[in-house]
Every structure is written in structure tokens, then in C-alpha cells.
């Protein structure tokens, strides 16, 4: 039985059997090389639907991944909320100027009802529709809606928000409660536009906060998202996260996109099949700096551990080579040929 890419991805997200392990990009596989090949450079590809869709499609058409992801960055909603932006050029990621936060207090938070009509969110919805038209029903389209913890970094500044989390837990909870509307509204709008699943980045990373923090501030909210956003959700948190994977596995989300700082075997042991894992090919040391054989070794390690979907650990460096990215689907095919 041969499955389409979309069937394969949805089956893996729903814990059902697959004909082979799907290759996914829950964050971004956009590169400068791909931008040149389809004439869809940053920053246009982050702000206009047509180049956004054209660049996103390359994940399937040129790299051989089972998914496409039109939201390359993590800043579309923050721009719509009024954050000061730095859109950059072709070879740099757009960023929010977090040193110039727009809010200082939970009372300052204002989420407009027409957030999804802002040009920087609407272009995502339009790109999703274009991708569905162009790629048809057989490719999985994954969208992205940012979690409230990440949005709070952008709107309050990382340092100020982290200090608030220690100084005033009640105010912190209020911030998260107010910002969850952004996550839900933008997620639902992308479902209406045609996505099959959504990545939900919420950067309560082990490099910044403890697993206990995840449990205290985010676990219940993530359970709420899994119930309120009607499609499979892929939670993305960078860094070392083994200490919170047990909590994450209890959220009801379909998958967790995990970082190479966590070993595949130990991660699978922690989640015990309660949530699928996606990942975790190292970006800076392997995909960016090494060769296809090194990439393949990491793919094999994930497959040997039983990781359900294979892909880079996070958004890849823009200078990553196409050859290294193509090594991921090649390795999956090679592994399945002998297993």
C-alpha cells in the first residue's frame, strides 16, 4: 500500500500505521539557494503570498519532503500586534526588535479582532490557499501559530517577561491568558484556509526556563489549545526539553518537534508513545556544516529509535546546502529499504 505524502503525515500525526516514515519540516527549510531557484527571496517571501507559497512548495517539489510550511519565521502575528520589526534581506531572518517592547503591563495588551486581516497574517492565509491549489490534495500543508509564551517575549521583551514570571506569577498568567486568543484565532484561520496540521512554537526552552515552569505556566494552556484548535498540533520548543517531555506528552497535542540536544532514544523513552516525535537533525553542526553522510547518520539514529517523523530540529540556517537537505529523504528511503 502506497500512501500520499498527506496521508502519510496525517497517519503519523494520528498514531496510525504508515508505509514509510514521513519527512516533515514543522518550522522552516527555506534557504538562499531555494530562494534563488524559484525567485522568492526574503523579505518578500515573508510578506507576500505568492513568493511565500512558491518558496514553501520547494520543500516538497525540490527537496522531497512530505510537508510544506509557508510560515518560515516566527514573527507574523507579532508584526500584526504592532511589534517593531526588522524584516532584513535575503540572507538574514526577520526579527522583532525585542529591545523596544510594545507593552509593559498585562493591562497594555490589546489583541485586535481583525488580527488575521493584517497584511503579515493575511499573506499566510493566502499562501496556504495558493499551496493547496498548486499542490493538490496529496501534499501535507502545515501552518504555524505562535504560542503565548513566545508572543510575550516579542511584545514585552525576553528579559522583562522572564523577570515578570519570577516576580509576579499572577500577572504572567494574565499575559498568557490574554495572548492565547492570538494563537487560537490565527490557528483556526489557517485551518479554514486549508492546512492539515499546525506547528505551535512556544519557546519555554530548557536553555531559559525549567521543566517546572512549563508545568506551572503552559501545560494547561497547551491542553486547551489541543482542544480548541481542531487539527493535529505539533508543539515546537527548542533546546534541552527532556525534563518537560513527560508533561508535553500529556497535553493531547499530536506531536512534539524536538531538538538535537535531546537524544532520540531517551526522548522516546520519556514520551512512552503518548505523543509522536518529529526531529531532530542538528542544524548548525550537521545540516549547515557537515556533509550528506553525517546527515544520514542522524536520520538513521532517529529511525532506529522509532521517531515517527523525520526533519531538521528547527528552522535551518539560510545557507544550508540543498544536498544536505535532500540527504534526509534519501536516508529515510535507504533505511526503509532494509527495515
Amino acid at each position: 500500500m502506497s500512501m500520499t505524502s498527506r496521508e502519510r503525515v496525517l497517519a503519523a500525526l494520528n498514531g496510525q500505521p504508515v508505509d514509510r516514515t514521513p519527512i516533515c519540516c514543522p518550522t522552516s527549510v527555506a534557504t538562499v539557494e531555494l530562494m534563488d531557484l524559484v525567485d522568492a527571496p526574503f523579505p518578500d517571501a515573508n510578506r507576500q503570498a505568492e513568493p511565500m507559497a512558491r518558496l514553501a512548495a520547494t520543500a516538497h517539489t525540490l527537496l522531497g519532503f512530505d510537508t510544506v510550511m509557508p510560515v518560515f519565521s516566527i514573527i507574523q502575528e507579532s508584526s500584526a500586534l504592532g511589534c517593531k520589526m526588522q524584516w532584513e534581506g535575503k540572507d538574514n531572518w526577520p526579527t522583532v526588535r525585542m529591545s523596544e517592547p510594545i507593552w509593559e503591563h498585562p493591562d497594555d495588551i490589546y489583541v485586535p479582532n481583525d488580527l488575521i486581516d493584517h497584511p503579515d497574517t493575511k499573506c499566510v492565509l493566502d499562501a496556504i490557499k495558493l499551496l493547496r491549489e498548486d499542490l493538490g490534495p496529496d501534499v501535507a500543508i502545515i501552518g504555524k501559530t505562535m504560542g503565548p509564551w513566545s508572543l510575550a517575549y516579542h511584545c514585552f521583551g525576553v528579559e522583562k517577561f522572564l523577570l515578570l514570571s519570577l516576580d509576579d506569577p499572577a500577572a504572567t498568567a494574565e499575559v498568557l491568558q490574554k495572548l492565547k486568543k492570538v494563537t487560537i484565532d490565527f490557528g483556526r484561520a489557517q485551518i479554514a484556509a486549508g492546512v492539515d496540521a499546525l506547528t505551535l512554537p512556544d519557546h519555554a526552552t530548557g536553555d531559559l526556563v525549567s521543566g517546572e515552569y512549563y508545568h506551572r505556566y503552559l501545560k494547561d494552556l497547551h491542553i486547551e489549545f489541543a482542544q480548541a484548535i481542531p487539527c493535529p498540533l505539533i508543539l515546537h520548543i527548542c533546546g534541552r526539553t527532556v525534563d518537560r517531555m513527560g508533561f508535553i506528552a500529556e497535553t493531547g497535542m499530536a506531536a512534539f518537534h524536538y531538538d538535537s540536544k535531546n537524544k532520540p532514544g531517551e526522548s522516546m523513552d520519556v514520551v512512552e508513545g503518548r505523543i509522536a516525535l518529529v526531529g531532530n537533525i542538528n542544524n548548525p553542526e550537521t545540516l549547515f556544516a557537515k556533509g550528506p553522510d553525517d546527515v544520514k547518520r542522524e536520520v538513521f539514529a532517529n529511525l532506529d529509535a522509532g521517531v515517527q517523523m523525520i526533519g531538521p530540529e528547527c528552522a535551518i540556517p539560510l545557507q544550508t546546502s540543498i544536498a544536505n537537505l535532500r540527504a534526509i529523504p534519501e536516508a529515510v528511503q535507504e533505511w526503509h529499504a532494509v527495515h
Binding site: 529591545s99 522572564l162 516576580d167 526556563v209 542544524n283 553542526e285 540556517p317
Partner: protein
């Protein structure tokens, strides 16, 4: 040899007993805190507890009692942050807690720095620090800068999103012998390598020793990029800077 029980401060005894595991570090802090004046033990404990108001008042009090500013900084403020740094390295505390302790240290340093500056205390050297192009994260860099300044370095802070040319200009203008680059994102880490290459292209690589750090950065990545030193956290940043300054 001093014993843990010789330290005249319960908080510090508890911290050492509960969180320090490496024998050489236990020995160093027992030696420091048995030697330090009681007021400075209170300051160190205040730093660990993130009590900025307390550290502010205690530092004022210590100066009024005639304790030397450098002694307050070394034994109290940096002593306390040393314990915090170890707890961070060992994952006993995370960034919010460290930020809180850093806020307390800043409250103390606000009294100390003007005195040291007026006294013209000789510095260990100048270090240029910046977060690489495309990356606007500065918490780690700022913690490193605070510890470097506390350890006697002059620091030129280039801020975030620093282009290769800006790093080069800063080295040429200041003559600094050590440069530190930070990145929080795996997507921006390659800009460390590009900056090092830019120094090579400008024929300035031999003029400066370069250290790198940041949450996703590793020793292997540092070596691959051709950096001269790697610091996993603010404490090791100071140690690496001292080593590089000696080698420069």
C-alpha cells in the same frame, strides 16, 4: 583548613552544601566565605536570593562602615554571583532566577562602579562583546558583560544584530585584544563563522582573539568556526577572557 561550619552565614552554608559538587569549587567558596567580612557574606547571600533592595542597602552600609569597594565587589557581589553561576551551569536555576540575581548585583554595582572609576583602578584589559548579525537576543551577552566588568575588564558593548564590519571597526578603533560573540539561534550561529572569516579577509585575524558563546553554541561548533575560545556560560566567559587576555 577551613570547614563549611566555619562560614558565619547560614544561607551560604546551605547553598554550598546543597548545590556545589566539585571539590575544588567547594574548597574555593569555603575559603572565600570564611575569610570574608560578615557584612559581605550578607551581600553574597542577598545576591543568591535575588534581593536587589537588600543588596542595595547592604552595599551602602558596607561602604559606610569603611569596607573597601573592591573587597565588597570581590567577596560579596562576585562571590554571590559565583554560586549563582554554578547553580545555573548545573541546571539548579534557570534564566529568570539568574536575571533576578543579576538585578541584585547591578543594585550593588551601582554604588561600587563610580568609586572604582574615580580611583582609576587598573583594568585587566578591554573586551569587545556583541550578538551576531540577525540575532536580537542579549540576555546571555549582558550577563557575560556584567561578570566581565565585575571581574575587572573594560567592556565595549556593541549590542545586538552586530554586522561583521562593526566588529572589525570596533577592534581597529579600540585596539582590544579579545572579542566575544554571542548567538541564541541556530539560524544565526553561522554568522559567527562569517565574522571570523571577515577578520581573516581584512587581514586582522592575528590582531584579536575571539571567543564565542550562547545557548546552542558548543565547543565543537566553536572549533569548527575557528574561534579561539568557547564559554558555556557567564562564569566560563570570564575564565576564557582571562586566558585569552594572558595569551594575547
Amino acid at each position: 583548613m577551613a570547614e563549611l561550619s566555619d562560614i558565619q552565614n547560614q544561607t551560604l552554608r546551605d547553598e554550598i552544601e546543597e548545590y556545589l559538587e566539585r571539590p575544588e569549587e567547594i574548597e574555593r567558596f569555603i575559603e572565600l566565605f570564611t575569610r570574608a567580612k560578615p557584612r559581605l557574606l550578607e551581600i553574597a547571600a542577598g545576591i543568591i536570593e535575588g534581593d536587589d533592595d537588600g543588596v542595595d542597602a547592604l552595599t551602602t552600609q558596607a561602604l559606610a562602615e569603611g569596607i573597601d569597594a573592591i573587597e565588597i565587589m570581590d567577596d560579596g557581589l562576585i562571590g554571590g554571583m559565583g554560586i549563582v553561576g554554578i547553580k545555573f551551569r548545573e541546571n539548579f536555576v534557570f534564566v529568570p532566577e539568574v536575571l533576578s540575581c543579576a538585578r541584585a548585583m547591578r543594585a550593588g554595582m551601582a554604588h561600587i562602579e563610580p568609586i572604582l572609576s574615580a580611583a582609576g583602578v587598573e583594568k585587566q584589559g578591554t573586551v569587545i562583546m556583541g550578538t551576531v548579525k540577525g540575532d536580537l537576543h542579549d540576555i546571555g551577552k549582558n550577563l557575560c558583560i556584567m561578570m566581565l566588568r565585575g571581574s575587572g575588564f573594560d567592556v565595549i558593548d556593541l549590542g545586538v544584530d552586530v554586522a561583521e564590519d562593526t566588529f572589525i571597526d570596533a577592534v581597529e578603533e579600540s585596539g582590544a585584544k579579545v572579542l566575544g560573540m554571542s548567538a541564541l539561534l541556530t539560524t544565526t550561529m553561522p554568522n559567527m563563522g562569517r565574522t571570523i572569516e571577515a577578520f581573516i579577509d581584512a587581514d586582522l585575524r592575528d590582531e584579536v582573539l575571539i571567543m564565542v558563546g550562547g545557548a546552542p553554541v558548543t565547543q565543537e561548533f566553536s572549533d569548527d568556526m575557528g574561534a579561539d575560545g568557547y564559554g558555556a556560560d557567564a562564569l566560563s566567559c570570564v575564565a576564557v577572557a582571562k586566558d585569552l587576555m594572558t595569551a594575547a
